[in-house]
């Protein structure tokens, strides 16, 4: 029989190793699924990597995809630290873009680019922050479930931007084609070496969030509220205020991600502007263990999957949706691996004295906990093989 008990916290390097091993295990699983679906997993992966990093233009594309993902993930991670499950990234990105577009459409064409960009940035932050603050207020004052609330806000934002796209802001100059007028050209972010400067914004935001979380009073409070709200309350912190501040920062940064995407490479607000970034960023934030610097790296890798998937579609006729299979499996495998970082499984000898207690352990619980360490070990072995 087996018993499960809490483990002491793993040393950092060990936790990191388990994480890397689980990602590799996820990739192995993905290879198996790809093979079952009838495609060559090795050719797929090498084409994927080649498509994402193989040439200068591929690399530029990958980084361009990564920028809004990274900013969104940095923003969401702030909320996740407080155990505020902000899954409303999609809606916050959209509202950030809507507000930024509104500013661009209503400023005179003579506005200098830098001023317009700053104003649009403020508007983007404002749009995302408001969209996150509404569920935040209800969460704080009447404990309304924020997971479901933020999810609904996504759809309201999407419906709203469809309304803008097809009706209210429809550009009459587009010959009946439903399209919103592009933003003013001086608001386009400057391009250096083929990449717009959004990557500098992303790194600056990640550094700022890293600093706030680690070095400031607010960051400390955010972490404590996330660990245990009653403790924070007991320590004399104003939990409501901390949470609302955190939510505003989180939503605002996500809104800013939308503005960066808008001014960086899309230039036109449309219902498909998020490209699922709000959901993908949750995956990124989780894979990075909510750490802002790690988010920078992971978002480039996830962006590489998305960019590479376009190439495998063209080169190998492998559907680009394979990238989602890989993403999903990697995430599931890291989610499962966390169990082995937090708990240990103890082998218990059958003892007649406590047999009655053990017999009541549901059999499938045992079955799973016995089956999966083996797979984690194979993943670890895989890792060694690679090294």
């Amino acid at each position: 029989m087996f018993r499960i008990a809490k483990k002491d916290e793993l040393p950092k390097w060990k936790g990191f190793l388990v994480r890397v091993a689980s990602i590799l295990f996820g990739i192995v699983l993905a290879c198996v699924v790809i093979a079952i679906l009838g495609y060559d997993p090795f050719a797929t992966f090498s084409a994927l990597l080649g498509g994402a990093f193989g040439s200068k233009s591929a690399l530029i594309n990958t980084i361009t995809i990564a920028i809004p993902l990274a900013i969104t993930a940095v923003g969401l991670a702030v909320a996740f630290r407080m155990k505020f499950w902000n899954i409303g990234g999609e809606g916050q990105i959209i509202m950030g873009c809507v507000c930024a577009t509104f500013v661009s459409h209503n400023m005179p064409a003579s506005t200098p680019g830098i001023i317009l960009i700053i104003l649009m940035g403020i508007a983007g932050f404002f749009g995302g922050a408001v969209w996150a603050l509404i569920p935040g207020i209800f969460r704080v004052y009447s404990r309304t479930n924020e997971t479901l609330f933020t999810l609904m806000m996504n759809y309201i934002a999407l419906c709203f931007v469809q309304y803008l796209h097809y009706v209210l802001w429809r550009d009459p100059a587009a010959f009946g084609f439903p399209k919103i007028k592009p933003i003013q050209t001086q608001a386009h972010l400057p391009v250096w070496g083929g990449i717009h400067i959004g990557w500098i914004i992303a790194i600056a935001l990640a550094a700022a969030v890293f600093f706030i979380i680690r070095k400031t009073k607010l960051g400390f409070e955010i972490r404590v509220v996330g660990e245990s709200a009653p403790t924070a309350n007991y320590a004399g912190m104003n939990v409501k205020k901390v949470m609302l501040t955190g939510v505003i920062i989180s939503g605002g940064i996500v809104g800013l991600a939308g503005m960066v995407k808008l001014c960086g490479n899309v230039f036109t607000l449309s219902p498909s502007i998020t490209g699922n970034a709000g959901f993908t960023a949750i995956i990124i934030a989780w894979l990075s263990n909510l750490s802002a610097p790690v988010i920078m790296i992971v978002s480039v890798l996830i962006a590489a999957l998305e960019q590479g998937s376009q190439v495998i579609q063209i080169k190998l006729q492998v559907p680009s949706a394979v990238a989602s299979i890989i993403q999903g499996l990697i995430l599931m495998s890291t989610l499962g691996a966390e169990f082995f970082m937090r708990y240990r499984i103890i082998k218990v000898k059958k003892n007649p004295a406590d047999a009655s207690g053990d017999a009541a352990v549901p059999p499938d619980l045992c079955a799973c906990s016995t089956a999966d360490p083996a797979s984690a070990e194979t993943a670890a072995a895989e890792k060694k093989g690679d090294a």
Partner: protein, 322 residues
Amino acid sequence: MDLNFIISTFIASAIAYSVSLLLGTLGELLTERAGHLNLGVEGMMLMGASCGYVTAVRTQSLALTILAAILGSGCGALLYAILTVSLRANQNVTGLALTTFGAGLANTLGSTAANTNTPDTITAFFSWHPFELRNVTNPVLNFINTAFLSHDIFVYLSVLLAVLLMIFMFKTKEGLALRMVGENPAAADAAGLRVTRIKYMYIVIGGMLCGLGGLYIPLVLQRTWHADITAGKGWIVVALVIFVRWHPIKAIGGAFIFGALSIIGLTIQQFPQLSSMVFFNQYIMVMYPYILTIIVLIITYSRKKAWRGPSAIGSAYFREER
């Protein structure tokens, strides 16, 4: 145009549209009653839809199609159950992972059946309307006939399923066990219920129902396959379960309201004086179900005594941590 005709055909198409929502809602409702919020509905619906549809195109057999849909979505739900029940992973993130994975799998698998149509044998089965009246002249009967009686057997079975589920949940011992696990797993465990087994069972059954709901979309409604064919219905389902407050009978009405509001924009375009008003614009009207859900959510949580859904939802049960 005859107003009676417009309204009755609108009701009929709203019912047809809401079948997949109803089946998905019943599935997610079972899952949530067992204490697990599965945000992977969209993924499971897509897995059921793609596995089923591809099987339909290849074998032309309805039985195998349904079996494949159930197995495909059941596997997705099983993955979710292993991660959240046994490995205690975060339910929100696991659900999202399932949606990502399911969508990827469905779009990859489905691309092998691109540019095909539902086989005639299966279409023929679904064009059989068991309760449809013939040669009706009475306008009232005619209205009822078009709106409510001209549907395939799947529609009536899904309504019947909702009724059976209500009886199961509130009148049987097993139903009580299910609700107890969702409300207080520690107490259920102490009472001798096999919490893990019950959770696994209903998460998987719930996933299978979602898969059946997904299957209806390519097989009957659209009769073809294209990428992301469920078009966000899985997310509507998550909203619906809250909207109907975890009750199977209310799910029938809830699914109909959401279905009707999703397609009413097209009908309203036949009345230009209405559709030119902002609040009746088709893009604004699709927003209403979500606003309604938020209002229900707020009311549910602001009333002190109101039941807020299964209370153990979202947290993993760990018997050693009692």
